[in-house]
């Protein structure tokens, strides 16, 4: 199968998966807003949680996938692995953005402040910055070989960095205790809320897969076009 044919096929499958996920997302919204009870202490604002937490999950998944694919790429040197890693990074950036914007929107009415330097938000902020660096780097490199190798280096380094950032914030916190924060992702969620959350996480995972497929297909098609252009000249 040529690059172009494969790209077209994956784009079609990816479109179907994304469409299914978006339908699922509608279902999640309906369930969250209409059928799930309102949380006592936080009120309606708490509903953002059903988008915020799964976004963080998808972002983390994207990051780990990019890191692992980076290692795989340096080993196998197949450019499709590089394209998949890049696709995951861009999708991860999108989910990181969602997590970082829903966080403050949720936080303001509940904690009284837009931003708090807790471990999760801070780690995601740096993940966001790492993704941006990764994508900017790819943008300034023209040769696909160099681009793949340099991206892989960042991807692998980032994989090792994030646990350290998490640890840094944790240490910072224990020395500087923050005002009491509600920790809604602790297991003690009433059944209905837990079910909605899990449903949302599932839908977001499928959404991640669909987006990555579409972005990967786009990458393949771009490669195909670059090759066609180069052959013609």
């Amino acid at each position: 199968m040529t690059l172009r044919e494969r790209g077209d096929r994956i784009a079609r499958v990816g479109a179907v998966v994304t469409a299914a996920a978006l339908l699922g997302l509608v279902g999640v919204y309906v369930r969250a807003l209409v059928y799930t009870p309102v949380e006592a202490a936080q009120g309606a604002a708490q509903k953002i949680f059903y988008v915020h937490v799964p976004s963080a999950w998808a972002c983390l998944m994207a990051f780990v996938v990019t890191g692992l694919l980076s290692i795989l790429y340096l080993w196998l040197k197949d450019r499709r692995i590089d394209l998949a890693a890049a696709a995951s990074a861009e999708v991860g950036l999108a989910f990181a953005t969602i997590m970082l914007t829903t966080g403050p929107i949720w936080g303001k009415p509940i904690w009284g402040t837009w931003w708090t330097w807790d471990a999760r938000l801070t780690s995601t902020l740096f993940l966001f910055l790492l993704f941006v660096g990764y994508i900017v780097l790819r943008g300034v490199l023209t040769d696909p070989g160099v681009r793949g190798r340099f991206s892989a280096v960042i991807g692998i380094m980032a994989l090792f960095l994030v646990p350290f950032i998490h640890l840094t914030v944790y240490l910072f916190r224990t020395l500087h205790p923050a005002p009491i924060i509600l920790k809604p992702s602790r297991p003690s969620l009433p059944g209905d809320m837990l079910a909605t959350l899990l449903l949302s996480v599932g839908v977001f995972t499928v959404l991640y897969l669909g987006f990555v497929m579409l972005r990967y297909a786009l990458g393949l098609l771009r490669e195909a076009r670059e090759e066609e252009l180069a052959d013609a000249s």
Binding site: L74, F126, L129, L130, V132, G133, V136, L137, V140, L141, V146, R149, F150, A152, V153, I154, I156, M157, A158, F160, L161, F164, I165, L167, T168, L171, F172, T174, L175
Partner: protein, 226 residues
């Protein structure tokens, strides 16, 4: 000495010789350090914020930015006349180039830090002698982290057209753990607390050093390839 160490030594010496002769990056780094220290001193309300409060942060921001000024230089000299190709045509093991550059960068950043430190004491009036030895240890450990990652990333950054932009963009997230650790440890040490109180941060920086010096050395060959 093994061939790797020998080659790394010669490369490091050569870099130091070149920097010593031109002194451009060194002079800029030093002027920059003084400026940052001074600006941060003045950018506060002196009636509510004492100089000792902001001192640790000011010191580490100074170190970080002065270091970044110098890191690109190490690989730019190799690109001027493609001297790096000359090195690659010898039997030098590629990882020796990393260690040589790492050592030279450490010398460069270390020298700037050594000169900034007395200025820091002068401007901010901090009791540095209380835990001086421990402070030097902390600075050394965090600097190793900066320089290891910075050496690897500058080797990449100089291959793009936007080296001065790409290096900070890529490097800064990686500096967060050693930087925060450095600031926290410096603050506590200046208060006179013993190092044993702060084992968490020390272990963080030590672990970071081990992980990232190893990673940088392993990944360097990937960055050298064309």
């Amino acid at each position: 000495m093994g061939p790797t160490l020998r080659a790394a030594w010669h490369i490091a010496l050569k870099d130091v010789a070149i920097e010593w002769r031109t002194k451009t990056a060194f002079a800029s780094g030093l002027v920059f350090a003084v400026l940052v220290l001074a600006v941060l001193f003045f950018s506060r309300d002196p009636t509510t914020v004492s100089s000792t409060d902001i001192a640790p942060g000011a010191l580490w921001v100074t170190f970080t930015f002065a270091a970044m000024l110098g890191l690109n230089r190490a690989f730019l000299i190799e690109r001027e006349q493609r001297a790096l190709d000359g090195i690659l045509l010898t039997p030098t093991p590629p990882v020796a180039i990393f260690w040589g550059k790492f050592a030279a960068n450490l010398a460069f950043v270390g020298t700037i830090e050594a000169i900034s430190l007395p200025l820091f004491v002068l401007f901010y009036d901090v009791p540095i002698w209380v835990r001086f030895g421990e402070l030097v240890l902390v600075i050394a450990m965090a600097t190793i982290a900066f320089v290891a990652v910075g050496t690897l990333l500058s080797a990449m950054a100089v291959r793009t057209r936007y080296a001065e932009l790409m290096l900070p963009l890529l490097l800064l997230p990686f500096l967060v753990p050693p930087l925060v650790g450095g600031v926290q440890l410096t603050a506590r040490l200046l208060e006179g607390r013993p190092l044993s109180d702060l084992s968490g941060w020390l272990k963080l920086i030590a672990g970071f050093d081990v992980a990232f010096v190893t990673l940088a050395a392993l990944l360097f060959q990937v960055v050298l390839d064309e």
